[in-house]
Symmetry: C2
Subunit: 177 residues, 2 copies
DNA sequence: TAAAATATGTCAACAAGGCTGACATAAATT
DNA sequence: AATTTATGTCAGCCTTGTTGACATATTTTA
């Protein structure tokens, strides 16, 4: 009541719990898991003067070689200018090359070089090791449960992007089955 | 061979696949899932002029009421200055209050106000709904498999932080069992 | 063919949220 | 009394996101 603004500014001393109807366990697990998952490549990136933005670009260019700038923007959901900065650096350092589009010569197809391929793999390796360790001796069914859950966490409109990636368990060899 | 730097700068036209010994499926699923998971609260935060940094602070103050500034820094793994900026705003807007530590009067215990509690729940709700939808009609065993996996993704030293949170399935009522 | 739309690049400017290092204060510890 | 600790604060830097404007080459459309 000693409060001018209508709200009560006194401290609440009890914690929010799962009983508040909110799935705090998984919310927090996702936060901690993702934080540590992304920390793996950071040391490697630092050696190159790169950041996570470079990592993401390099990753998807290696996963979808020949994709255009517009397609990359659509996958990453960032703006042209944000991409331009890091893409320029990756091109200048010889990790990515641009090739004029064969049908539409306005387009620039993006491909990794050997150097870019090698760095992409080096960055993926510690993350993959962490995943493998976390799966431990999980059964195939458990692994599928985890993948199904993660995929269902993605906005439905964007699940198509995942299916279009090559060699994903839930969408192999883009388009066939 | 038309290359001065020793590396081959020609475009690689094949995609990296899971066969390269790297678990790309889950790497990418984590990226997409986390991206959309964190996008949920963003609209709400924007109404308050807050960002994700505010969200994280508010969340953990609500989950561990009375924690000190140093403890919060340890959970978030950011620096004092990064915290100071957003914490000040949350205090100025009446979402969090500081209480002088009872034993050590140098410490400032952080508590949510009613307003802060309410916002924290509002932010958690859409995330919780997304998780619930993603779990669908998963069995209890599947849910446990997912939680076990996510927890195992966290650096071992830091798993203690998770166990110290109240009401987490894998570590209830801090300390007893 | 001329006009309009498209793909890309680039410039300037801004904001959020990380970072570092330095320094001040109060309180606790030695 | 001296030192250490917990916190706050100042100045300044970096990365990576944003917007809006504009230029260029190329394709599509009228």
């Amino acid at each position: 009541m000693t409060d001018r603004s209508g709200t009560n500014a006194s401290p609440i001393r009890t914690a929010i719990t799962n009983e508040d109807g909110v799935d705090l366990s998984i919310i927090e697990l996702l936060f901690f898991a993702y934080r540590d998952f992304t920390s793996d490549p950071d040391q490697i990136l630092a050696e190159y003067g790169f950041g996570r933005a470079h990592h993401r670009v390099l990753h998807f260019v290696n996963r979808m070689p020949g994709l255009t700038v517009a397609e990359l923007l659509d996958v990453l959901k960032i703006t042209k200018q944000s991409l331009a900065r890091v893409l320029k650096q990756l091109i200048d350092t010889g990790h990515i090359v641009q090739v004029q589009g064969p049908r539409d010569r306005r387009q620039r197809e993006l491909y990794p070089t050997e150097k870019g391929r090698s760095l992409a793999l080096a960055l993926a390796r510690p993350q993959s090791r962490r995943i493998s360790a976390a799966l431990g001796n999980s059964s195939m069914a458990e692994r599928e449960g985890i993948e199904r859950f993660l995929k269902a966490m993605v906005n439905p409109e964007l699940r198509a992007q995942i299916d279009n990636l090559p060699g994903t368990t839930s969408g192999k060899s883009h388009g066939d089955e």
